[in-house]
Symmetry: D2
Subunit: 335 residues, 4 copies
């Protein structure tokens, strides 16, 4: 049994804690949150220890590994602390909003053998993973175009948006990772357009965008398109398409249930899409814990590493330059 | 060019006339209808001859073959006339509402080499035909269960229902033929239940049913179910499912177009189903003409023969006995 | 927290134990199995008590309620014991293979206020439940026809089949319950055909059937069809269709993931269906525990009661008479 | 009856001739092709006159209107001839490969009341049109993103590609028109990437691309993406998605038939997509003739005008500059 402690008891932290609690090869070693009440509730519900500080977790003998689900500005510090403590770490994305801080963190942990895994949970979705598996099995040949559609069911509260780091670092970052995962090749150029159509005043105030389209190309000319919107009234729109020389694979959306309705004016109507990521990616979050336990148990490199978090952030950085300067950006400009 | 004359210029006759007119290897040799105005209009629109009588058609040298789309009571007579005249005949279903009349007709034309084809148009639907083709290609192994759903968009006018011969002879007869086509084996027993749920008063008056479920078995125990209703508000529901040892094949419905709509309360909504048979089976009606021309040109037995019309009627007869007497009926009781 | 003990630590019992363990308002009070090793493993994995006997569970103060997942012949006894002990009970289906025993059990517990819930888990599937919800919301009007397709991915081992009580009591019984749930009205007549196509020798030996089609009608003439097979190579085929005056609702199958594959010879191909009930109905099994906890907490009648188990068994009994005697059976013959 | 003559008896011309022949309110007034044998065959098959020259058609009293399906370099000349002759004209796209020639043609016919309709046939596809209709009915609110996928089943012969004018003017031009049709607003900027992945040597020789991704924005920031490939092994991939504040509408692909296949390793598999445009857009080509006849009969402006052809070509021109210069292009640069 891998004894994992959870740092951060917000909505995502709680879910991770429950998944660890339910996992057959892991146990929840305890929780911590700067908001004591939050940690207390989770600890009580799952009958586990509430740690007094993050430091206590990193120094506890009864903790084998940590899951970091705290606020973004703490991620890089906790990754460094985990490496220092020799405790494998599964850290929520992003590593940091600042490329400089991520680079510093990379230097700080360079050469470590402590497994550091990044929480790009979508890689563990069975549908998205099946697209990648089809590619690896040669079922669709060489991939020429990847099309990712990713739209939130609704825009987050103003307070969240204001500190989010902007749509590219906060939302598209998942799609940048998915693009790399599916394409299996690094991107070289990026070109983005952004608009303020969903919440113009808020976006104006934050110098941010709520509706973006991003195009990326690899050195060999392969293409990827990402379509984002902060609001899709029909639910959380999450689709991935890979088009290749031998065929195509598409990971489709997840409606709330599998029923279809027919009436006088329509046929084949499904329910709205599962809303939001905790529901839509429930299977993926559970599988992510599984992959982390696997990596630690087998002393294998995690499925998603620190470098993946770094590279996704560079794409976000380049996208932001592109939309602001109205030109394609070469990735080497930001590396 | 096969010169085909059309007897009957009602809705179906007109459609057949247009399909013949548009067919690359056939030409419309003329039309006839006892309602002169109906024939006149079709003849004018398509610039063809209006014959003065059915006899004129059967004796005309410039007519190579005939298509019979007149009222049911005339079908058997015209089939016999076609055989006598040596003119290949494509006749709308059913041959007759009376089993005795069909048997007499069978005797009358016994041994003829004149191609007589029955208008069980659904066999020519690309989807239904693909189910049969999958079976013949061995893709789903031995067929164990066939499930046919067949619901009209709305009940026909009272006047039509009153002379229709009842739901089994008028509507289910298509499904009986489809069941034989898909199963590729004759049925031995039939068991039917019927209800008056759509138009109870009319059904009561006609001693008919508007909602029926029929189960048939072959000698080897294979099973077929047919579900019929005279009214499906979402359109013309036409589905065929074949379940076998190696898999399953399903021919799905046809919505009016291929668009899908997403809104705040639903996703993936399609349009109502194509409504009614002229629209839904447009491709099949055109392919049926094609198959008829093929059969005549190649002096080959038509894809659907007189015997198929006969056998479907026997199933209808047996179903009626079953529902009235509340017991399974063995086909030999009606043969 | 409702403290639930689990009797029976086979595959289903283990799954229930894990679901209780993971449930936010329940806790696993302990387990028991006549096979000690089975109980020991579950107890160890989930860190709970292993009871020495069923009696110990029924007399334990720290047990608020019980879940019975033992072999069928013990179900009725444990239900009676639960009532005597005043412990709410969620019992796997069927109550018993013998109608007489079920009737005796019904008498024994008559008038009890202890909640007894039957494990017809499919009612809790979000898709099937959405069909029922659409009916209750009036979205499809009066239901005229219900079509249930239920095919296992593969036939169970001989040893299981031999003591299963036959396909109607073992497999179709779920569909009988589903039919009552969806139709919302009792059935009056039943007519079944059965064949031995999947495993003829085994079926012959057990005087059982592996491929059946069942038709049922209500007093008002509404119709339900059930199609069963013991082997569907493409996976666990579980579909429910309700056709009504205002529309139709269909609960569709669940493929292993939501990806679709396109190749040179095909498009839109999905993965095989989830296989088997533990995977397919994972959500439903979890929701079932939820419904049980709700019922106990609110002192409300369970969503599925003892009577539902009783009625489903009567339908199974009648179906068996129908297929053996080759005639429709009126339910009053078996009540 | 509108008497329409067809100029050009290649594959598309023949199809148009047949559609006119079959149209209830039109008749085929004759045909012409510089390849006499081609015209002769069509004339014989459909029993119509073979004109000796295009001039003969423009001066013939028995010709009310013309359909131009000749090679691209003749289009602008014939449009001018039609205007001079006062004969309504339905002209295949593109008007010309040269923006200068199109502008000259626009000047030459400026102010004419003779209906000139451009053959952007996809607007008449029932699925694509349903997307536009949903927008106009307000069903999906304000459109924020349009996603068009358009991939040919296979690359055209070298000889065709060499004179095609390049992928943007030859293939994407349809998608540019579709983008304008669906968005209902003009685009202001365009950004394109292109690659040589399908037929690198040929593309290199022609200085052309076989795989492109195009992003366009309107003045208000709305976005459109087009994904093109010259080869999709699964068939002719033609999808249109409109995402708006109130929902989304998607026009889906058309498989060869509506059957779905299930086997041991897959479920729900459809046939390859209809291949190629004559099959996929058969309904649209017939409806296009209908719209042309309507426009002429009602003296109404055609659904697709000369200006639509002009604007689509400007988008193609701008896309080409963008991909060559590696920068976004403002449409005013090419107007």
């Amino acid at each position: 049994m891998l004894r994992i402690a959870v740092l951060g008891c917000g909505r995502i932290g709680r879910m991770h804690a429950e998944n660890i609690h339910a996992h057959p090869r892991a146990e929840l070693a305890g929780v911590f949150d700067v908001v004591e009440a939050a940690a207390k509730e989770v600890a009580a519900n799952l009958s586990v220890k509430q740690f007094a500080s993050a430091d206590d977790i990193f120094s506890a003998n009864e903790v084998d590994a940590v899951l970091v689900a705290t606020s973004t500005p703490t991620h890089a510090d906790f990754i460094e602390a985990a490496v220092t403590a020799g405790k494998p770490c599964l850290c929520e994305k992003p590593i940091d909003l600042s490329v400089a801080r991520v680079k510093a963190c990379a230097s700080a942990i360079a050469g470590t053998t402590v497994p550091i895994m990044l929480g790009f949970v979508r890689r563990f979705d069975k549908g998205h993973a099946a697209v990648r598996a089809a590619i690896e099995a040669g079922q669709i040949g060489d991939v020429h175009q990847v099309v990712i559609t990713s739209r939130d069911p609704d825009i987050a509260p103003d307070a969240y948006i204001e500190v989010s780091g902007g749509i590219f670092r906060d939302m598209t970052i998942h799609d940048f990772d998915m693009a790399r995962f599916i394409m299996g090749e690094e991107f070289e150029t990026i070109s983005a357009v952004g608009a303020r159509l969903v919440a113009p005043a808020l976006m104006e105030r934050c110098d941010d965008y709520d509706t973006v389209t991003v195009t990326m190309t690899t050195a060999s000319g392969k293409q990827c398109v990402i379509s984002n919107s902060r609001r899709a009234v029909y639910g959380y729109d999450q689709r991935v398409e890979a088009f290749g020389t031998g065929g195509m694979a598409i990971s489709e959306n997840h409606p709330e249930n599998n029923a279809r309705l027919y009436g006088g004016a329509y046929t084949d109507q499904k329910a709205p899409l599962l809303n939001f990521f905790i529901e839509r990616y429930a299977q993926a979050f559970a599988s992510e814990i599984d992959a982390f336990v696997d990596a630690v148990e087998n002393a294998a490199p995690p499925a998603v590493g620190f470098d993946d978090g770094h590279k996704a952030l560079l794409l976000a950085e380049a996208a932001l330059i592109s939309v602001r300067e109205g030109r394609p950006v070469h990735l080497k400009e930001v590396e």
